[in-house]
Amino acid sequence: MKKMLNRADILLILLLLFISFAPLLFLTSQTPDRLYADITVDGKLIRRVALSGHTGRDTFVQTTAGGHSNTIVVEEDTIAVTDADCPDKLCVMQGPAKKPGDIIACLPHKLLIEVKGSQTDSGLIPMR
């Protein structure tokens, strides 16, 4: 039998190792292309805010059940609740949300902000 590892083998392995990292040049990141936030009050979709590509700072006041309100700030590609007239202010303390699956909830006002991505989550595909 010849040598265990010859020059051609080493070149082949290095070439394949190089190819392994090629997708980094073409595919930017694993996060979905388009992120958006769905704002629901009492289970009904009130507003959909695009997060990807959003620049600057937008503030709006969302009125909720019983005449209450939450101040929602969309800054760059994150969304946060900065003020609310609820007693506990838990929604403010949750900070900004930016990843798919992040949620901000204000239970007294039945307000829910969910960050979603437009692409299938690849982690769901079973492979072995």
Partner: protein, 163 residues
């Protein structure tokens, strides 16, 4: 090789690779990325490639192992990914062996790498987006590493078999 002897040898190889496949399922391994695994059964594919006169026979051993393994544990989705990975890997290994320039170790590492390429291609077609190739920087080196280890093992076995 006479046909009865060959039949027994093929059956033996298929059985051995199945045992290795099931054994591998018992070894707990850290989860790196979907699809990353040892691929112990590939040792047998390599040995089949080097000991059988025709590559078609080695392909038969591989195909039987994949189909039977998916019956033991897996299902149609796993079968699809195993087949695409296995066929891609096998094609690469046969071509590299035919070129005559590479040792079993190099061929095995290319096989491990191409297994992931095949799986990622199938999965990308299934979800209709190339985004899954983001896993290649993890899966590719993993495949090369396991390929080197398996190739080393197979070389040792082949040396003993020839003596």
């Amino acid at each position: 090789m006479r046909s009865t002897k060959k039949l027994v040898y093929l059956a033996l190889l298929t059985g051995q690779s199945l045992v290795l496949f099931l054994l591998e399922g018992l070894i707990p391994l850290p989860f790196l990325a979907p699809g990353a695994k040892l691929g112990l059964a590939n040792i047998i594919t390599l040995i089949a490639l080097y000991t059988l006169p025709r590559w078609q026979d080695a392909a038969l051993v591989l195909f039987l192992r994949i189909v039977l393994a998916s019956l033991f544990g897996g299902g149609p989705t796993i079968l699809l990914y195993s087949l695409s990975g296995g066929l891609m890997s096998f094609a690469a290994m046969v071509l590299l062996q035919k070129s005559g320039r590479f040792s079993p170790l190099g061929i095995s590492s290319a096989g491990g790498f191409c297994h992931h390429i095949g799986q990622l291609l199938a999965a990308s077609l299934a979800i209709g987006s190339p985004q899954l190739f983001c896993y290649l920087p993890i899966l590719g080196p993993c495949g090369l590493l396991t390929g080197i280890l398996l190739g080393w093992t197979a070389t040792k076995i082949l040396v003993h078999k020839n003596n």
